[in-house]
Amino acid sequence: MTETTSNSTKQTSADPAAPAFAVRDLWKVFGPKADRVPGDPAHKDLTTAELREKTGCTAAVRDVSFDVQRGEVFVVMGLSGSGKSTLVRTLTRLIEPTSGSIAMDGEDVLAMDKNRLRELRRRQTAMVFQNFGLLPHRSVLDNVAYGLEIQGVGKAERRAKAQEIVEKVGLAGMEERRPGQLSGGQQQRVGLARALAVDPEVLLFDEPFSALDPLIRRDMQEEVIRLHREEGRTMVFITHDLAEALRLGDRIMLMRDGAIVQLGTPEEIVANPADQYVRDFVRDVAREQVISVRRAMRPADAAESDSGAELAPDTLVVDAIEAVAQSGEPCRVVEDGRTLGVVDHERLLAVVAGIDGGRPDTEGKEVAAV
C-alpha cells in the first residue's frame, strides 16, 4: 500500500526506491546574517537564548535530519516554538531553509526553479492548515476545487472531482454553503477535502485539529486514520498533542527548540524516552495501550514454550491482559510458529505500573535512562 497508480504516472524523474522526503542537516535561522549561523561549529551546542544573545538570530530549525518513508504517517511533535511548523513549511519551501538539503522522491527540492517548485506544490504535496485557510467568498465545492482550478483544470471536470471528494469526507449536501456557515470541524473537512482533491503524493498537516473541540478532534483523527488505511498516502503530521501523535503516528519525531530530541515508533518513545524531557512528556501515557507484548515478554522456560494461548508479537499489552486474565496462565508470544517468549501477570502489571524499564531487549538508548 505504498503508491497509488495515479501518483506513479506523475513521477517520471523520481527514484521509486527513495524515501518520500529525505532531509539532511536542515537549518532555518531567522535574523540578521542568518546564513552564517549554521556553518559555525561554535553555535552547535548553544541554547536558543545563548544563540540569540550571541548572534541576534533565532534558529527555528537546528540541524535536523530524517527520512519520511512512503506510505507512513510521520508525526512531528513538539510544544509551541519548537520549530515544527517552520519545519513542515520548509519541505515545500513555503519557508526557504537557510541550509541543508531536502529531497523528495530523490529529487533535490532546493535546486528546483520556480516552475518546478510550483509543479511540486500543485501535484505532489498538499497541506492542511490549523486555521483552515478557506476562501470565505466561495462555496464549499469551489473551495474544494480550488487546487484543481490553480492547476488549470476545466470547471466541469474540477467540480465533478470536488463533488467526489466532498462525499468522501462526509460533507455531502453542503456543497453550496459558505465556509462561514460551517462548524469548525466541517470547515476542517473542507480543508482536508481541498488537499485530497489534487490527489497529492504526500499530505502535510500543520496542527490541523488543534483549533477543534476534543470530540470533533477525535472524529477528525479517525477520519485521517480511515483515509490512510484506504489510500495509504504518505502523511507528515504536525501536532503538539501527544495523544494525537501516539494515535496517528507510525513514527514520531519529537522536537524541542528546533532540534530533534527523539525519533522512533510510539512504542519506542513511550518505553524508552531518550531523556528527562521526553520522560516528562510521556509520563501520563496509558502505557498498556502503546507497548506491545514483544517488549513486555520474558524468555520462556521449558515448561511454558509449547503450552498456553498464542499472541502475535505486536499485540498491545492491554489486549494481552485480557487474554492472560481469561486463560489464567501465561500466554506465548508466537511469530511464524516460533515461540519468542511469554507474558504473565507480573510482566503485564510491570508495564502498566511503568516499572518495566531496563529490559535487556531494548536498544542502546536505555543507558541514558535512570
Binding site: F132, P136, Y146
Partner: protein, 670 residues
Amino acid sequence: MSTTTPALDKADTPGTTPGVPQAPGPLARLAANPKALLLIAALLLAVVSAVVSGSGVWPEGLTFDLRTPLTELNQWLVENRESHWIFLYFLLHISNTAESSVDLVVTLLESLGFIGVTVLAVLLAWYAGGAGLHRRALRTAGTALVTFLVIGLLGMWEPAMETLGLMVICVIASALVGLVLGLVAGLSDRGERVLRPVFDTMQVLPAFSYLLPFVLIFDVGVPAAFAATVIYAAPPMARLTALGLRGADPVALEASRSLGATPWQQLKTARIPLARRQMFLGLNQTIMMCLSMVVLASMIGAPGLGEEIFRALSILDIGQSLGAGIAIVLIAVWFDRTTAAAGDRLDDPAAVRSTGGSLIQGGVVVVGTAVAAVVGSAIGRVEWPDEWVVSISGPVNSATAWIEDELGSGIPVIGGTLTWASGFANYVINPMRDALQATPWWAILVLGGVLAYLAGRWRAAVTTVLALGVIGGMGLWTRSMDTLSQVIAALVLTLILGFAIGILAARVDWLDRAIRPVLDTMQTMPQFIYLIPMVALFMGGRFAGVAAAVIYALPAVVRITDQGIRSINPAALEAARSLGATTGQQLRQVQIPLARKSLLLAVNQGVVLVLSMVVIAGMIGGGALGVDVVKGLAKGDLGLGMTAGIAIVCLGILLDRVSQPGAEAKRGVS
C-alpha cells in the same frame, strides 16, 4: 506624567493659574515632569510677551512676495494655455476628454428623459439591493424613487442631471485611479512607503485647497472640477484597497501558495476577493467624497446643484438654496444606501448568485430603462414638466424671515439666535483673536513648536515651526490668526459636545441606537449643505461658520468617542464594577483612560474637519483666509487665492501635527 491627563487638559491647568502659588504636592510633581515644565515655560513666554509688546505683527523684513510670481504664473498660463506643448500634448487631452465625457453622460441622461432616468435609478438600486421582492431590494429601490421624484418636484431636475453627469465621470476616474494606487500600495512595500505619507497628508488638507491649483492649470470650468475631484476622492479607494489586500487572511494566502498558485492566480482568486469588502467600503467613500467635491467645485465653475446653492448663498437666499440642498442630500442618501446595500450583499451567503441569474437581472435593468425612455418620449414627456414643480422658495424665505424677526433677538432672558451669534463673536472669538494677534509671532512659534514636540517629537516640531514660518512669510499672519481663532473656538465647542454625547451614547444603549443612523447620514453629506441652516438661523457671519463647523465635525467626534469607550477591554470594566465602582468612577478611572487613544484620535479628526469647514464658511461671512480664497476664485485673482490657500494648508498641517496622537500614544507610555 503623573496621571493619564490628555494633552488638552495640560494646556488648561497652567494657563488658568499662572503665577498662583500651588500646594507643594502638585508643585513637586510638576517639577519632576520636564514636559509640563516645558509647556508652562512656553505659555508663560507667550502670555508675558503678549502683555509687554501688545502687538504680534510679523516683521516686514521677514516676508517674501509670493503673490507677484503667482500672478505672473497665472498670466503666463492664460497666455500659453492654447499653445504650449505641455497643454497641447497632455493637459488639453485630459480637459477635453473630461469635458466631452461629461457632456456625453449629460446628453445621455437628457435623452433618457425624466421617466427613463428615474426608472434606471430605481432598477439600479433594486439590483444593488439584491434584485428580488425582499425588503432590502425594495427599500433601496424606494429610496431611489423618492429621491428622483422629489428632485423633480423641487424643480431641480436639470441641475441634478448636470451634477450626476459630472459625478459619473468623476467616480469612474477616481475609482480607477484609486484601484491602481491601492494595488501598488497593497502589493509593494516600497509603493506603500511612498504613497502612505502622501495619502496621510491629503487627508488633512481641506477640500477647498484642492480647487486652486487646478484652476491655475485648467482655468475655471468642468475640467478643473474633474481633476480636483478625482485627486480629492481617489485616496479612500486606494487606502482601503491597500488595507484589504494587506489584511487578507494570511492562512488563506498561504493555502493558495501551498497549492502552487502563481502570484497572478493568488491575486485573482484569493487576494482581491478577500479584499472585496474593504474595496467596496472604499468605493462608497470615494463616491461620497466625489459628490462633496462636485458640489463644492461649483465655486470654480462646475455646473449643477452646487452652482444653485453657491449662487443662492452668496445673496443669502435661503429658499433657493434649500431646494438644491435637499436634492443633494437625497442624492447622497441614494448613493450611500445603494452602494451599502451592494456591499452588504457580498457578505450575505443567501445571495449566492448564479451567472445566469445576474445576467437576467442586468437585462431587466437595461430593458426596463429603454422601455421607460421610449414611453417617455412617446408621450412627449422628456423633460420634467414645469407644472409639476412645487416652488418652496417663497414659503421658505418667509419662514426664514420669521425666524430672524421672532427668534433672532429680543426673546426675554434667552435672547435669540442673532443675539447669541453676536455674543459669541464678541465675547469668545474676538478676545481669542485679539490675544492671538497680540502675542508676538516668535512667541507663537515657540509655543507651537513646544506643543508639536510634546505630541510628536522633533519632526513634528520642525514641521509646525516651518508651517508657521511660511504663513508669516507670505504676509498672512494676521488673517491666519483670525482663522485660527475661529478654528479653536469651533474645536473647543465640538470637543465639549462631541465627548459629552459620545460618552453618553457609549453608556446608554438606546441613545446609541437612536443617533447612529443620524450620524451615518450626517457623515455622508457634502460640506456645503451645512451652511444653509446656519445662514437661515444666524444670518451668516463668523458664528454661523463656527456653528456649521461644529455640526460638520461633530458626527466623527461622537462616533470615535463612542466606539473608543465601547471597545475597551470588558474584563477591566467588569473588574471595576465588581469592586463596587460608581458610574463616575468607572468612567474616570477605567473607561476614559483606556479609551485615551481613541479620544486623541477624535481630537485629531475634529481639528481636520473643523478647519475644512471654517474655511468654507468664508463664503457666508466667516472672513479671514476663507474669504480670500473665495475672492481669489471668483475674481480670478490667483495670487490672492493661492497664497491664502497655501496658508490654509499650512494651518492644516500645523493643527494636525499638534493634535496627532502620534509618538506618545504609539509607544503606549504616558
